[in-house]
Assembly symmetry: C2
Homo-oligomer: 239 residues x 2
DNA sequence: ACCTGAACACCGTTCAAGT
DNA sequence: ACCTGAACACCGTTCAAGT
């Protein structure tokens, strides 16, 4: 990430209007995106707002309060994105996939925030309604309510866990990233075919998947949902 | 984490023997465990070794080199732990479960390290042999080699992703943890049964699972492996 | 009532000086 | 050859002083 100042937002040099919560949140959200600089610090936030860095403390008690407020915005964005095209009634599998992908997309557009909020919980009411709907969908598919809730929970955690890893990787400094890439090349690149025949055979595919986090997550999601499908089938047999 | 100095290891006050790579690694590993203080900084490492904090730079180029060396130790420990009781020949499902659980256990015993290394790759030869063996097991079960390699990759990423989340949560400062707990209680505790009938019905189970990361991961692993089993069954049908 | 700016504790890292 | 200690850049945060 470049050490340059950026005046992309509609503010900057001649700030005179007093700071507002909304202006701070907007600026912070922008800083968390790669285009906005890709990291969230009080110094950068102050520069972006054209104010003293510590001025933010007048509106948020500490950085954690700021992060939690940003988290609510992110969740709202994800819920909106997921409930866009396919309305209330789709197949449960599509709906779960859409939800998961929406959460992933919204987070990975702001890695610097994702890394701070993917393990957190906020009590946003927007989300609650969406959860009720999804549990309902799984229940309609044949799963007992408790099991439907479990599946929802698993999928949410699965999605956020992979988000956390991808975002952490994105936030890693380029030197460390390069070292990892090199290690990977050594590891699966030049394996003696006689000692590691199977790895040798599959090394092309493994290399393909190496830094394609989206592809790996896609595969994991499919496999996991196959497992959920088996639960659904089992529940239907028992009735 | 207490701000106290600790002289738990067999060193401390009167160091005279010169620093070695091994002594540094041992001390660092200890610092990363909850009993050892739970965080890895040069200041603490220096105190633990009874040396100036910057003395470590004579043996590791920077913190990242130290972390990567520690990662290799962790991987070796996991491989050893996993290949303990059940020898080469077990059912593939048990073997995969053992491997996953061993990786999880070894990492979560040092959250401060896990948080730094769960997304990293090192080229440790110890690991490579274990991977070849596991792909072989899945291949014997009926999966084509490429697909066996994919399943291995998915499971490893799945395991490390959940490790990363659990470790990040453990490293969160207690105040933030308390806020999350409170948010959760608000969210699923007092939901109006008329507006959220399904969530209301399952709130007991959801609360039960809330901070029980091990339980959630156990469920996810089972469901994921059900998905892998389906792949295996499908592959056998095609022959 | 809100903002500024100096100050502090805590990170990783560098480098000249010690033995 | 290895270690020490002062110094620096960069974090979040506090607080007295400004308007």
């Amino acid at each position: 990430m470049a050490e340059q100042g950026m005046k992309t937002a509609g503010k900057g040099a001649g700030r005179r209007t007093p700071l507002t919560r909304e202006a701070i949140l907007e600026a912070a959200l922008h800083l968390c995106s790669p285009e906005g600089g890709g990291s969230l610090t009080f110094a950068k936030l102050g520069k972006e707002l054209g104010a003293d860095p510590t001025a933010v403390y007048r509106h948020f008690r500490d950085k954690d309060e700021l992060v939690l407020a940003l988290t609510d915005l992110l969740i709202a964005e994800a819920v909106e994105l997921a409930s866009g095209p396919n309305q209330a009634r789709g197949h449960w599998r599509e709906t779960l996939t859409d939800m998961s992908m929406a959460i992933r997309k919204v987070h990975l557009a702001r890695p610097a925030l994702a890394v701070l909020c993917a393990v957190r919980t906020t009590a946003s009411p927007t989300e609650t309604e969406s959860v009720e709907r999804i549990i309902g969908l799984l229940h309609s598919a044949g799963l007992p309510v408790i099991e439907a809730a479990e599946c929802y929970r698993m999928l949410l955690d699965l999605t956020l866990a992979f988000v956390q890893v991808s975002a952490t990787w994105m936030m890693l400094d380029p030197q460390a990233q390069a070292k990892d890439d090199a290690a990977w090349a050594v590891k699966y690149g030049l394996l003696p075919a006689d000692r590691f025949p199977l790895l040798h055979q599959s090394s092309a595919r493994l290399t393909e998947l190496f830094r394609d986090d989206d592809a790996v997550f896609g595969l994991v999601l499919e496999t996991f949902l196959d497992g959920v499908a088996r639960r659904v089938a089992r529940a239907q047999d028992e009735r």
